[in-house]
């Protein structure tokens, strides 16, 4: 374990970056970043071939710290940038890290369309049920009744379930884990990266500073322990009733389907269009027709 921690530190952190990072002590983001780096390492990817994109928020700062091709985009739009990068250079492994508000509020439309589109990319969503950076306002995953700086009387709306949303929107691979299950998380991320098609990795994380404090969920340790207690493996969850699953976190692979990957489909379009254009050019040459082809 120590050896692997050393690999992560030496190989993947940016040593020309002025640390410390912006995350609060006990924040789950560091656990996710560690798991991500170990998963990338185990996947045998070259650093030059990896792109890590992010949106805005605490999670948005992750790319700054790691030694890949990195981009910190605008709020909610990370997947749109990733789409352009992937289509321009399909050989790159494009990973996108987002928060719950980033991916499913301001970026909700991009998120479901990225899932539907099914480019060969991976989205990692760190779900801490709040907007941490801006001071703990309610997000699309804030539980009903919870307190936040914009729901002091208890939240009146209902929460998204991000992984299920991704399944419905058509992602090829969807998994969920928590920051308690660091090894499981690493395994899931590795599977998500390996999967051809659009993969979604939801990570349940803690914001004890904002969400935890206002809802009396304790500090980082208590919140992370809570994830351990609430987590149910997907295989077990399948045998449980809806009532039994209330307030549980289903972890594991929720969807793994095979369907045409649009990265490859775009290449097919290029190949066909090129052939057609060559044929027309030859005919033109033969017949001497000069006209504008639409």
């Amino acid at each position: 374990m120590l050896e692997r921690a050393e690999i992560v530190r030496k190989e993947y952190l940016r040593h020309d970056k002025k640390f410390p990072h912006v995350w609060c002590p006990g924040c789950g983001n560091g656990i996710v970043m560690g798991a991500l780096l170990r998963a990338i390492h185990r996947s045998g990817l070259e650093k030059d071939d990896v792109v890590l994109a992010s949106g805005i928020g605490c999670s948005g700062r992750m790319p700054t710290y790691v030694d890949f091709n990195t981009i910190h985009t605008t709020h909610g739009r990370a997947l749109t940038f990733s789409t352009g990068i992937k289509l321009a250079k399909p050989e790159l492994t494009v990973l996108t890290v987002m928060g719950d508000g980033d991916a499913t509020a301001i970026g909700g439309n991009h998120f479901i369309h990225a899932a539907r589109r099914n480019l060969d990319m991976t989205a990692i969503i760190i779900n801490n049920s709040t907007y941490g950076m801006t001071g703990g306002q309610y997000s699309p995953t804030t539980p009903f009744g919870s307190k936040s700086t914009t729901s002091v009387y208890g939240h009146v709306e209902h929460a998204f379930s991000i992984a299920e949303l991704a399944v419905t929107a058509g992602a090829s691979f969807v998994a969920r884990s928590t920051v308690y299950h660091a090894t499981h998380l690493e395994d899931m991320i590795r599977l998500a990266i390996a999967k051809k098609g659009f993969s979604v990795m939801e990570v349940i994380s803690n914001c004890h500073v904002q969400h935890g404090r206002r809802n009396k969920l304790g500090g980082a340790v208590e919140m992370i322990k809570g994830f351990k207690e609430r987590a149910v493996r997907v295989e077990k969850a399948e045998k449980m009733s809806a009532e039994e699953l209330v307030d549980k976190i289903t972890i594991g692979v929720l969807a793994d389907v095979e369907k045409p990957i649009s990265t490859e489909q775009y290449q097919r379009v290029i190949n066909e269009a090129k052939k057609k254009a060559e044929k027309i050019a030859k005919e033109k040459e033969k017949n001497g027709i000069k006209r504008y082809e639409e």
Binding site: K47, P63, D67, N69, T83, H110, I270
Partner: protein, 380 residues
């Protein structure tokens, strides 16, 4: 169509000429969202780009389109999008990112009447100041206007070249009349077309500083995947690309991105002069209105009025010196616009010579006719 070694005379509409220009300039990525009167650009590129190994994608909205365009450009591919007013509003957020992170790209706005859903699809020029100031914060930008099919081809090439050279988004303002008018044009041969590609770094990757200043004020640009692992952000950043709040670094960065446009001012500002040598009165116009203005000037000459036309191709940075010299030469200037007077404001600001400015505005969704301009020329 493109890269022919022979002159080719073709019948094109303005939107098609923009496509031809973009492809000739090396554009190989387009992301867009359907909107009238710009949709022909998308439709044609969805056919033409793959033929050249490029990619066309229709995104879920214009916000996403602009994001994908920036992403593709950062991966080293010349990219563009095309839209109209409502879509251009949505693009402002990521357009600002393009200015901040210095990402070359071209945005075509085929203007229609506004505000809001406005007048689909009648011509207008209501997005001029928005093109300059649409995204938040002080930012440098280049805005160009096309007035004909031939213009649509050549200005698009120029727009790509400037965006690559100065690492900045360039906005092309077309309008419904230019977009849908079909004209016979002779496209230049491939050896007549000058294409500029962004300067890429040649230093070892460990020496590369993606935002370091140089004598051009434009840092060399590595593409993602080229071995120069670097960081790109919309935060104000230091020369390594990392976020900074150090006042000195912030100031240096912002001064540089504004300064690079100032340094290139001579090359960036494009205007066309028609019969201005001995003019006593003149018209300043751009876009489709410049066509009406040209006719009005010819008609005025036939009546013995010493009239001229200064056509603005580059709207921003505002070609102040050229405008100023004719404001000094002439006693009056007519400024016809299909808006409430958006460029007129700029002209008024530089008018130290006290030239009489007569604005003529139409906002009813109809093109300004030569007669309307001629009346003003005769009156002054």
């Amino acid at each position: 169509m493109i890269g022919s070694d022979q002159h080719e005379r073709v019948l094109l509409q303005g939107n098609e000429a923009i496509v031809a220009g973009a492809l000739a300039a090396g554009c190989r990525f387009f992301a867009g969202y359907p909107i009238t009167p710009a949709s022909e650009i998308s439709e044609l590129l969805s056919v033409k780009l793959p033929e050249l190994g490029g990619t066309f994608i229709q995104m879920e909205d214009e916000i996403a389109s602009m994001g994908a365009v920036l992403g593709a450009s950062l991966a080293g591919v010349k990219s563009m999008t095309a839209t109209s007013g409502p879509g251009f509003s949505l693009m402002q957020e990521n357009l600002g990112y393009g200015c901040m992170a210095e990402v070359p790209c071209v945005i075509v706005n085929v203007m229609r009447g506004g505000p809001s859903t406005g007048l689909p699809t009648c011509p207008a020029q209501g997005d001029v100041q928005m093109a300059r100031w649409g995204t938040h914060g002080d930012h440098p930008i280049i805005v160009m206007a096309v007035s004909s099919v031939a213009d649509s081809f050549s200005v698009t090439i120029k727009a790509f070249n400037l965006s690559e050279k100065y690492r900045t988004p360039v906005i092309i303002l077309s309008d419904e009349v230019v977009a849908h008018t079909r004209e016979s044009v002779t496209l230049p041969t491939s050896d007549q077309i000058k294409v500029f590609d962004r300067v890429r770094p040649d230093v070892p990757p460990e020496w590369y500083k993606p935002y370091a200043d140089n004598n051009r004020g434009v840092p060399d640009m590595a593409a993602f995947g080229d071995g120069y692992r670097h960081h790109v952000t919309g935060l104000v950043h230091d020369e390594k690309g990392y976020p900074t709040q150090n006042g000195l670094e912030v100031e240096q960065f912002l001064q540089r991105i504004h300064g690079k446009i100032s340094k290139g001012f001579q090359e960036i500002q494009v205007t066309k002069n028609h019969q201005l040598e001995d003019a006593e009165v003149f018209v300043i116009a751009y876009g489709s209105v410049a066509r009406s203005a040209l006719r009005a000037v010819r008609d005025a000459r036939a009546l013995g009025i010493k009239a001229g036309l200064l056509q603005l191709v580059t709207l921003f940075p505002f070609p102040r010196k050229v405008v100023d010299s004719y404001l000094r030469q002439c006693r009056a200037v007519i400024v016809p616009e299909m808006n409430m007077g958006q460029m007129n404001r700029e002209i008024g600001r530089v008018n130290q010579a006290g030239c009489q400015i007569v604005k003529h505005n139409r906002i009813d969704g109809h093109l300004i006719t030569p007669d309307e301009i001629l009346k003003h020329l005769a009156a002054v």
